[in-house]
Amino acid sequence: MSRRRKVAIWLLVLGALHGIVVCAGFFAPYDPVEQDRKSPYLPPMRLHFVDAQKHLHLRPFVYLFQLRPGTFDQYLEDTAQPRPLKFFVPGDRYRLLGFLPARLHLFGADTERIYLVGTDAFGRDQLSRLLFGGQVSLLAGLLGAGFTLLIGWCIGAAAGYYGGWRDDLLMRVAELFLALPWLYLLFAIRAFLPLAVNPLQAFFLIVTVIAAVGWARPARLVRGVVLSAKERDFVRAARGFGASDLYLLRRHILPETSSVLLTQAAILIPQFVLAEMTLSFLGLGVPEPVPSWGNLLSNLQQYSVLVSYWWMYLPALIMVPFFLGYLGLASALQERAEPYKIQRRSLESLA
């Protein structure tokens, strides 16, 4: 497979995955914050094609659950009540891509609510929360990585190109940022902010923090590339012809850093998604009831949830395809950028 093709395939996979999350309103059957207080911790409903009388149905259906008498979280499948899955049904209002008002959902049922991956403590649909939660987590990762790379790129380029005391200063600051105990600092920052931050503020706080923490490493990488690029013969020649610093940077030097940046992006995005999850897990992320993957996972902090409701682990699993996609893309990009190095390395490892 050609290297270009590999990159394209990974991009396609990631595009599809992100498309689902972006259009969460369509793929999710319900509003992620809507509580169904009759059904806390409902286990996932299984899709059936054959009913209790051994009849085959072409349309998949589910059985509703009934509370086991005398309990509050134990359910029994009620085979007397099959509910066929309906596709493209109107339901809760949502805004597609954040602005298009819509009501159409991929699937749903007529009268009762159906939960394909169960519900949480308040009877909220776990599937809808997973999808909508992805919007927060992935966007935090993408924006965080974007800002990080922007800051890292500017600082790295400045340090590498101008060199001297500026280089020293910027790189020492970068080292300082690498060494700071960020989690504790974040707790301190959070303590200074007003008590109640709304979900949007909390989200941007996370993104800012992630970006502020992350810029040092890409800055050092960019600086390295710039350092070597500015000594190339064609750059010297251009300088000899009287090119300005800005022209040199724009025309000859920064384009050299593009492959480093792309690879870094593919590595940083999943890292930052994970960072968002960690922060939310510790209660520093977007507040309830807005879902994010970290919020969803934080339910697992309770021992009783950990041992009783396996479907609460799903937020940990859902990131696997995303991370695989990003890491696959990162290695494909790296391969494309440095084919010889990769080959040499694999030869070395063979030897």
């Binding site: 207080r37 209002r93 403590a121 308040f122 008590l195 209660g283 507040p287 309830e288 309770q302 009783s308």
Partner: protein
Amino acid sequence: MSVCHRILFRSFLIFSALIFHPAFVHSQQNDAKEELLVLPGEISRSGGRLVVSLRGEPKTLNPIIAADARSREVIGVMQADLVHINRATQLTEPALAKSWKVSLDGLTYTLVLRKGLKFSDGETMDAEDVLFSFRVYLDENTHAPQRDLLIVGGKPIAVRKIDAQTVVFQMAKPYGAGERLFDGLAILPRHLLQKPFQEGKLGQIGSLSAAANQWAGLGPFRLKEYVAGQRLVLERNPYYWKSDSKGNSLPYLDELVFLFVPNADAQVLKFQAGETDMISQLGAENFSVLSRQQNGYTVTDVGPGLEYNFLFFNLNDVGEKASAELQRKQKWFRDIKFRQAVSAAADREAIVRLVYQGRGAAIWGLVTPGNKSWGDANLAHPPRSRDRARTLLKEAGFSWATGPNGESTLLDQDGKPVEFSILTSSSNADRAKMAALLQDDLKQLGMRVQVVPLEFRSLLDRVTQTKEYDACIMGIASFDADPNSDINVWLSSGGTHLWNPSQPHPSTPWEAEIDRLIEEQMSARTFEQRKKLYDRAQEILAEYQPMIFLASPDILAGAKDSVGNFHPAVLEPYVLWNVEQLYRKSGPENATR
């Protein structure tokens, strides 16, 4: 000698025997046995050790400075009081005092001490120790938390000694709760504390790391070993003053071990793994985990307890220094109809079901169903009604605007959206869940509510010190069924009058009325009089809704099957209240251990 004379002489002999015989026996060595308090219950032999977990390290063993629940729990098994409230019957029982008399006017209590009482270091205890203890509690420089309790009718209780066994307590006003006053007031060892008391160093005594012989009590256990950060080991007090009905001296257990386990889930894991023998204050979800796989242990739902959970708004008179925003919000909070609407919208039944898995009760007042005698039967229990809530809000001048997505927003008189935050303790998952349910209930009314989990100490600091908050969800567990245990919640001058604590003067007429009712019931003589006054106070609270009561959890506890006499109570300390009677059953299971 005539027959008549003989009979007289005989009767004199019998008479004298009657008079002198008991005294004679008392002066003999089995005198102590005579004065032991005999407890009914399963009989066993002494021996064995019991391990329980404690939420953290107790700060002190000194009852004069103990303010945290962990210290009090440990002190509870190391100290004893004159009169004790039986945690199962919720009634008073003789303890160090074998009997007591109340004068007709209700002002004088005469307590007769048991004979032969000894502290855990072997020193005898008598009326002098009682005098000393009360002098310490009442001393202003000691700052003992017990002091407030001992000021009745504005004057400290006067304590007098009649003889070595008899003490008289004189009050300025009758005390409604009567001898319940003495429960929990530990009698202190004068021989150890007199000197530090005179030097004003009493607060430094009783640290855990001090040698075991520097501290003594009258409780069933005494200090044996303290390992910082890990455990506290207590051993049997050989001088304890109770026995079982066969005459065996109590406690049965040789050792009682407290493991420091700060986290509720970790306590459950330790109990499940068999590292601890008993567990209390279980959450409903952990209870259902434990009851699903009962393996050598049993968990019990003891029934509704005395803990009440509630929402309250910031009704403090914060004055100039408060932010304009808080002042704007307080305009809503001070509106009775607003608070009533919030109460009407709260889905208490869902809280009981989703937070407590049905192991709890919805409440509309501070007296929970676990309290056997003080609940007000006339208190209304209105079901959740969104319509009523909307009507109330409309009457108070609020209106609604419909947003672009069809969601409605509640607007106040000035057309500003109603938005506020609710604080909850981040370490209490139950209350966080209540807040999330309430948030959704209020969203239906168009209120935008944010839930802010906060570490408990900083939450308390905000509520009682800085007063920078909108609303807060909290829970209080009364330590006794008597209304006087919640006195600081009721009185406007009280420190746990949470919506507006420690007021110099009651800021509203209805708070003044509650103050009057509560103070009056404190000195009313009969239960009926007190109940009537207390009912009225409950009704005022329910009408003005400064606290919006939500739910009360059942007391859930568990013990290994090898623990005998395990009878958990709904009062603190839930499983350790009869610690002197707990014993280890000898069975095959124990033999292998």
